[in-house]
């Protein structure tokens, strides 16, 4: 009985150890293929890493591989996912700007407010706002200890109150902007955007590879999308699109 328990524990440790090492090995194998100019093999190696775990470097290198294959939409989607994870990484931002410039020119790039708020992830904004928010309430609680305590923390209370309000509003604004960002990217040339979520439905318009859309609805294998610039809307099959999650 005791031996069985030990062997089970050993198997668990080994499994955990293998799980921790394997993604790195796949990542390095993919990098080696990419460096040799074999983007398809690189993508296959990167694809061995479980899809639920990712990193900004992995997404960035996947984007480079797609770029080498001329798949602008996939590349843009990967770079945007990388940016979501590491918004202050200059190389990611630069690659994103370059691929966007190839697809849509300056029109596809975020405005100055979006760029400023995009320096932090949504979670970073939320944590910063939450910490200052709770610090403010802690100061308010301290002020309840008596008049001397209230007098000593009064300046901090006011400052933290202002900071907490500003940060909360900024976090909400960042969230709102993130929700309004185009989160769907066409990954095929002349991707058909249809008037209803059916393969037989009439084509409303076609989209170039890499066209970014705003997601307005989702239904069994279809995204209801809207082109921010023109306002044109329709249904795009998930097979012709990549999604950038809100984070």
């Amino acid at each position: 009985m005791k031996r069985n328990w030990l062997s089970g524990l050993l198997a668990l440790v080994l499994a955990l150890f293998c799980e921790a090492v394997t993604p790195k090995e796949h990542f390095e194998a993919g990098n080696a293929h990419l460096a040799k100019g074999q983007p398809a093999e690189a993508l296959a190696a990167y694809g061995q890493i479980p899809p639920e775990a990712t990193s900004s470097s992995l997404e960035f290198n996947r984007g480079l591989a797609h770029l080498q294959l001329g798949q602008l939409g996939h590349a843009l989607a990967r770079f945007r996912r990388a940016e979501r994870l590491a918004p202050r990484d200059l190389e990611i931002r630069r690659a994103l700007m370059q691929v966007r410039a190839r697809i849509s020119g300056p029109a596809g790039m975020p405005d100055s407010l979006g760029r400023a708020l995009g320096r932090l992830t949504l979670n970073e904004w939320a944590v910063a706002a939450g910490l200052v928010w709770w610090a403010w309430f802690a100061l308010l609680l301290m002020a309840r200890l008596g008049p001397p305590a209230r007098q000593s923390v009064r300046g901090y209370t006011v400052s933290f109150g202002v900071m907490a309000t500003v940060l909360m509003l900024t976090a909400l604004l960042a969230w709102r902007l993130r929700l309004r960002e185009p989160g769907i990217i066409a990954t095929q040339s002349n991707a058909a955007v249809r008037i209803s979520p059916l393969e037989e439905a009439k084509v409303a318009f076609t989209a170039n590879d890499g066209t970014e859309f705003r997601l307005t609805d989702e239904r069994d294998g279809w995204f209801r999308v809207e082109e921010p610039a023109s306002g044109r809307a329709g249904w795009l099959s998930v097979r012709s699109a990549a999604q950038v999650p809100v984070r």
């Binding site: 190389e91 697809i103 909400l172 984070r247």
Partner: protein, 607 residues
């Protein structure tokens, strides 16, 4: 049988034939059909011309038919030039007929002829070649009478502001229709353009004008024309097709009235005089090198750049706004010079029209520049060059230089370990100076693996944590408020109890004097209970004699006073069965009560 009438007898005979000899009848019918089929013959192939109307008035239309019989599918031939007459192909049709066992198949091509002047128009014999054989039609004559004078209705005028244009110059031109009677159905006017490009157009009505004593309404069709080539060019004539409805001279019923849609409809065409235009190119002498063909009067707003404090690799959006009047399409966004320290990406432009023809407005160019070096980067964009036809010289619109403070970026500080050349894809357009083909560094460190889980602000627990702080604070504030309210209510209750004690003691005196024993003891009980509640806390009415020993004496209540209080409690108990009624006894109890209450107050004050 002989008695039957003649028709009936005939029917009987037919019935007898059909019933009695069906084979013979069938043979007869077959023979008849065979004879009919055999008797059908194709008519001789031919080609002839017909006029539906052989006489019309000038300005009216006549229909010419070219009929090809049994010649197969012949294409419509081109008509020769007819003097003082326009001809236009109006469609084709086919006809199949059997006449006297002769079967004909015809293709008919129709043409609309519109003579312009009275006289005779001769339509010559036309010759076509079909299957190597030539066929010739008959010549025709169309007599043209004195037509309707369209000048009675109105006239068309082409208004050009000047007769010398520059290549690339956009000029507003007007086609004005002066009319005394409005047409039933005006079509858009047409203008013959040779060497001009038509831009936007707009139709409106001008105020009526009086010409030679006649009042004319004026309809204006304005359009923007851009001269595309140099030379002596002819603009026009402008043509305007209208449909007028005239009252019929031989009106037979009210339905001939134009009011009921009746009357005679007539197509009236108006034409203007053409205008000779001389188009010259902008002079090449002293022509600036950056001239791109823009002609007009333009001005440039100050250049806007945002942000102006960036890191290396960060985008800077530059906006240039050009205002004025002329051919804006010749204005191109100037590219930064080579070695400027900036990379440029394809720009966008938008045009906001200030008039209906788009001659005047504001054009905004927007581009993204990426600084490549740190430091204060100053950039002067090349100027816009335009030929000004008013001053007859080249205008140079110099954008003000922009200065951008560029901080060192990550890429400038650390060189990546591996470089991967990125291939340019054939389907995607490369930027003008774009760095797409440059080496893009590869990430070599995998970094921490994370999941793309929903953002914190989308998770209920995070929102609950954030809401907990204000809820906690609100709860504490509510508790404070309740306590404060209770504290504010305390003195009121105490004052009320003190007032009750005072009133009860005063009542003792009154009831003792009146000899009202029950009321006296009731007041005595109320005074003691309220005072004990004030001294010890709790509710009045709950105190008995035991309170003296259990709560008052332990607090240092004097023994004499304790004894007095016991006596009072005993008197109260005795009053239930045999109350004291004498006034002296009641006065003594009153005094005793006063002293006990004073002692209790002293005890309370000493606490």
């Amino acid at each position: 049988m002989d008695s039957l009438p003649a028709p009936e007898r005939e029917n009987r005979c037919l019935w007898a034939v059909s019933k009695g000899a069906p084979n013979a009848l069938r043979a007869l019918v077959s023979l008849w059909l065979w004879l009919v089929a055999a008797g059908l013959a194709f008519a001789a192939p031919g080609f002839r011309a017909e006029l539906e109307e052989d006489s019309v008035a000038a300005g009216e239309v006549a229909t010419l038919k070219l009929i090809f019989t049994d010649l197969g599918n012949v294409q419509p031939p081109a008509l020769p030039e007819l003097p003082n007459c326009t001809a236009q192909f109006a469609g084709s049709g086919s006809q199949f007929s059997i006449v006297n066992f002769e079967r004909t198949s015809s293709i008919i091509h129709q043409y609309v002829l519109q003579p312009k002047a009275p006289g005779v128009i001769e339509i010559p014999a036309l010759t076509v070649e079909v299957n190597g054989q030539r066929y010739t039609s008959n010549p025709l004559k169309l007599r043209v009478g004195q037509g309707f004078d369209s000048g009675q209705l109105g006239f068309l005028k082409l208004v050009v502001p000047k007769t010398e244009f520059y290549v690339g110059e956009t000029v507003p031109v007007e086609i004005r229709f002066y009319f005394k009677h409005a047409p039933a159905r005006p079509n858009p006017p047409k203008l013959k353009l040779d060497g001009f490009i038509k831009g936007k157009e707009n139709t409106d009505n001008l105020p009526p004008e009086t010409i030679n004593g006649e009042v004319y309404s004026v309809m204006r069709n304005a359009l923007a024309l851009t001269a595309a080539k140099a030379g002596e060019l002819t603009l026009g004539p402008a043509e305007f097709e209208t449909l007028y409805v005239f009252r019929s001279n031989r009106r037979r019923s009210i339905f001939d009235d134009p009011f009921f849609g009746g009357g005679e409809q007539k197509q009236i065409n108006f034409a203007s005089e053409p205008v000779k235009i001389r188009v010259v190119p902008p002079p090449t002498v002293n022509q600036p090198s950056g001239f791109g063909g823009a002609v007009g009067r333009f001005s440039l707003d100050p250049v806007l750049a945002s942000p102006t404090n960036v890191a290396v690799g960060d985008p800077v959006t530059v906006r240039l706004t050009v205002r004025g009047r002329g051919n804006f399409s010749g204005l191109k966004l100037p590219e930064p010079p080579a070695g400027s320290g900036y990379q440029a990406y394809p720009g966008t432009n938008s045009f906001e029209e200030a008039d209906a023809l788009g001659l005047e407005g504001v054009k905004t160019f927007e581009t993204v520049l990426v600084p490549e070096q740190s430091g204060v980067q100053r950039l002067r964009l090349p100027p816009f060059i335009a030929w000004n036809p008013e001053t007859k010289r080249y205008d140079t619109l110099e954008p003000r230089p922009i200065s951008v403070n560029v901080r060192p970026g990550v890429a400038a500080q650390a060189q990546p370990a591996g470089n991967v050349p990125v291939a340019a894809t054939p389907e995607a357009p490369a930027p003008r100076n774009g760095p797409v083909t440059e080496a893009v560094p590869l990430k070599t460190e995998l970094g921490p693996l994370v999941a793309f889980s929903p953002a914190l602000v989308q998770r209920p627990w995070f929102l609950a944590v954030m809401l907990a702080a204000p809820l906690l604070w609100t709860g504490l504030r509510i508790g404070d408020r309740l306590r404060e309210r209770a504290r504010q209510r305390g003195p009121d209750l105490r004052g009320q109890s003190e007032r009750l004690v005072k009133e009860a003691v005063a009542q003792l005196v009154v009831e003792a004097q009146a000899g009202h024993s029950p009321e006296f003891f009731a007041a005595l009980n109320r005074a003691l209970q309220e005072q004990l509640a004030l001294t010890l806390g709790g509710s009045a009415g709950a105190f008995t004699e035991d309170v003296v020993a259990t709560r008052l004496e332990p607090r240092g209540f004097p023994g004499a006073e304790a004894e007095r209080l016991r006596t009072l409690f005993e008197a109260l108990a005795q009053a239930r069965y045999s109350p004291v009624t004498s006034r002296s006894a009641l006065d003594a109890l009153t005094e005793s009560t006063r002293q006990a209450i004073a002692a209790l107050k002293n005890l309370e004050a000493g606490r």
